[in-house]
């Protein structure tokens, strides 16, 4: 409770640094929104992709199956009339035997309704051998054999064939083949009424394939339909196809997931930068609070809470924005974001509470993770040191890590040579990650180098910025904004007068112009005090650090 009471001290400070806070916030929004959008589009596309693939593979959205003896064909009429069901295809499956010479062969015989089959699982459509036989598929004694079955039985279209199921034995005429049947599947197809009549199965079905209306989730339809079916008759999702769809789209999926991960990582890094900058700028404030008796742990917790708050807000807004983006992307580009994988599909977006919650959680995590290092830094720094101000250079690691940075860049180059593993460009991902990390580590050195190359001419603000760029070590976070820092500078903010004199102290000698001394000592000099002194501090790495003069 005591901790909560300090809210105005920290949250007020957060609100005062609106720009920096907004910066962190948008970074997280961006990361979460990108991740969320990719995920949502991807899920919608995959759902649709899966459907398409099922149709292609000759599988229905749902299958009704019964006990061994099959079930009453009245169930077909019942299901065909349901609003969830777009098309229903009745099937009667039998195992039939064929023996003429040599060992007995078995064959899967499928009784079909040719018109319903054409609409639900067209891949199983039989093809008459000659165009003259177009109506052969409806003839009672016509049978169609898949290539594999024809080869196994040594028969061709036009031949006769004797088949036996149970005690019933019949002679049929081979009218054509089943082009869509899988290569090694011994399948025979004939009209369902004929199968029922010839093999004593009148009024019985063994399976009904269902195609659902557009946009209907199989899970929802399944539970609704199962409720009206008699005991023993089950409704299921065909198993094989989901896996197949997953394999086909794996590369696509992994790529998009990587993209989302990189977006989130970037968001987390931006929070880190913003938070690191904000901690550096409030260094004196924290030191003062610590002097007043604020415990280390409380300070740490509050800084984490700041990050968490930004992360949470960014996560929520990011998820909303992500859905909007996904909707826009689907409308404009389609489920493959224009890549051409899923052309012809019409994915529809669905809000998924769990996935959304996960992404809000990721935003929260990014906020906390980004705040962690700066918070630890702030909590461990010595208040006596920080109260002096001007020693920010010691924060967050001086000149960066040039060696590690170069090493990472080299690794990145080497990783490009790694061949794809199991179809996945893992080396490529590694290269991207190393490139990112390496560049970040090299940035401080690079910035200092550029600053050194800049001519010491031009307008004063530009020279101040260049000096700042070269003088501030460490965090790349401070590269961009440090130079423009206005508040908290020397005498700029009475409330925190000591906030930034060190900065000016460091950069003025770099300007190497006589203007520096009167500018820094301005107050006391103009007051004409005889004891005004400029002191050269032994602390400064540059060897010259003017401190404010005093009475």
């Amino acid at each position: 409770m005591t901790r909560l009471r300090l809210a105005p001290v920290f949250l007020g400070s957060l609100a005062r640094r609106r720009l920096a806070t907004l910066f962190s916030f948008f970074a997280i929004v961006l990361g979460v929104a990108l991740g969320m959008a990719v995920q949502a589009v991807h899920e919608a596309a995959l759902r649709e992709f899966d459907r398409g693939l099922r149709a292609l593979a000759g599988e229905a959205d749902l299958q009704v199956v019964g006990p061994r003896g099959g079930f009453d064909e009245k169930i077909y009429a019942l299901l065909a009339g349901r609003p969830e069901v777009a098309e229903a295809s009745p099937l009667l499956e039998l195992e039939v035997r064929w023996s003429e010479s040599g060992p007995e062969e078995t064959l899967q015989l499928l009784g079909i309704d040719i018109f319903a089959l054409a609409r639900v699982t067209p891949v199983l459509l039989p093809k008459p051998a000659s165009t003259a036989d177009r109506l052969a598929s409806l003839a009672e004694e016509s049978i169609f054999l898949s290539r594999a079955a024809q080869t196994a039985l040594g028969r061709q279209p036009g031949d006769d064939i004797d088949l036996q199921a149970g005690t019933q034995r019949r002679r049929f005429k081979i009218a054509g083949d089943i082009p869509g049947a899988a290569d090694n599947r011994r399948l025979a197809v004939m009209d369902i009424a004929a199968v029922q009549a010839h093999f004593g199965k009148l009024g019985r079905l063994s399976r009904i394939d269902l195609k659902l209306v557009e946009g209907m989730a199989p899970g929802t339809a399944r539970s609704a339909l199962q409720a009206i079916l008699p005991a023993g008759v089950l409704i299921e999702v065909p198993a094989a196809s989901a896996e197949q769809a997953g394999n086909l789209s794996r590369a696509y999926r992994v790529n998009l997931t990587m993209l989302a991960a990189i977006a989130l990582l970037t968001g987390g890094f931006l929070v880190f930068s913003a938070q690191a900058l904000s901690v550096v700028r409030r260094r004196t404030e924290f030191a003062f609070l610590r002097a007043l008796g604020l415990a280390r742990r409380t300070l740490f917790t509050w800084l984490l809470a700041e990050g968490a708050l930004i992360g949470l807000a960014g996560g929520v807004v990011g998820v909303i924005l992500g859905h909007a983006l996904a909707w826009g992307a689907l409308a404009l580009l389609g489920g493959d974001l224009g890549a051409g994988y899923f052309s012809g599909l019409q994915p529809s977006l669905q809000f998924q509470p769990l996935v959304s919650a996960v992404y809000v959680g990721l935003g929260l995590l990014a906020g906390i993770a980004g705040a962690w290092l700066p918070a630890r830094e702030a909590a461990t720094v010595s208040p006596a040191q920080a109260l002096k101000a001007g020693d920010e250079t010691t924060l967050l690691g001086g000149r960066g890590h040039p060696l590690l940075g170069c090493g990472l860049l080299a690794t990145s180059l080497a990783a490009c040579a790694i061949p794809p593993l199991d179809g996945l460009p893992l080396g490529g991902y590694l290269a991207v990650a190393c490139l990112l990390a390496g560049s970040v580590l090299l940035l401080p050195l690079l910035a200092a180098g550029i600053a050194r190359l800049l001519p010491a001419r031009g307008p004063v603000p530009a020279r101040l910025a260049a000096a700042r760029l070269g003088a501030a070590g460490g965090s790349p976070a401070r590269r961009g904004t440090g130079a423009c820092r206005g508040r908290g500078g020397w005498g700029a903010d009475q409330c925190r007068a000591s906030g930034g004199d060190g900065d000016y102290g460091r950069l003025l000698p770099r300007l190497g112009r006589p203007m520096a001394a009167p500018a820094i000592a301005g107050r006391s000099l103009s007051a004409g005090r005889p004891d005004t002194k400029q002191r050269v501090s032994r602390r400064s790495p540059a060897g010259a650090n003017f401190e404010r003069t005093r009475r």
Binding site: M1, T2, R5, L6, P8, V9, G12, S13, A15, R16, T284, E285, F288, R290, A291, L292, G293, L294, A295, R296, S382, P383, A384, L387, A389, D493, Q494, C495, R496, A497, S498, G499, D531, K533, R535, R550, R551
Partner: protein, 217 residues
């Protein structure tokens, strides 16, 4: 009672404070003067427990600093110490009254329990009517008076002031010093004022000179 015995502090092998001893009783208000860089702020940091000495002994009301860990020292500062800095360190995002109430918040007090003492202290430093103002609306002298109110609101045993008038003009500086002396005596705390200026030091009961050879009257 504040006891300092044989205190020393060195930075990078260079001895800044050497064998400093001092005993102060409740109600004593002293000034320490000395040249720039002689170690006045360093001494105050040691007394505040913000820095650890390299040798010697420090104790406040019988509690030896050496026996206190980081958290205990933090609690000691929270409960027994008040600070006035040259840079006022008034938080810009808190109102004047909230700034004064801050030490009480840190002690876990809230609402009226923090607001009433804060208001009383603000009245005592002549800023009762500015309680709801924001720091940016106050002058430098007024801000330092806010800082004095804040340093005393929780009735500290020890008040430390490091160049409290360093950022003020002479007239305002004199006002603030007089107020500081008056309030410290009123609270009955031990007061230590660090300054360059002999005029400022004269507002204290006793003046000590810090030189490289030690602390002398």
């Amino acid at each position: 009672m504040l006891e300092i015995e044989g205190l020393s502090r060195r930075f990078n092998g260079r001895c800044v404070l050497h064998d400093i001893s001092l005993h102060l009783h409740a109600g004593e208000y002293i000034a320490i003067v000395g040249e720039s860089g002689v170690g006045k702020s360093t001494l105050l940091n040691l007394i505040a427990g913000l820095d650890r000495p390299d040798g010697g002994r420090l104790a406040l009301d019988g509690a030896a600093y050496a026996q206190l860990d980081e958290d205990a020292l933090t609690r000691l500062r929270r409960d027994k110490l008040g600070f006035v800095f040259q840079a006022f360190h008034v938080l810009p995002h808190l109102s004047v009254r909230q700034n004064v109430a801050l030490p009480l918040w840190l002690q876990g007090l809230h609402g009226a329990a923090a607001d009433l003492p804060a208001q009383q202290l603000l009245e005592a430093v002549g800023l009762g009517e500015r309680a709801a103002s924001w720091p940016r609306e106050l002058s430098g002298g007024e801000l330092q008076r806010v800082a004095i109110a804040r340093a005393l609101v929780h009735k500290p045993r020890l008040l430390l002031a490091d160049e409290p008038t360093g950022n003020l003009d002479p007239a305002n500086g004199a006002k603030v010093l007089a107020l500081l002396a008056e309030r410290v005596r009123q609270v009955g705390a031990i007061g230590i004022l660090v300054t360059h200026s002999p005029a400022a030091a004269a507002t204290a009961d006793r003046v000590l000179h810090l030189t490289s050879s030690g602390l002398q009257a």
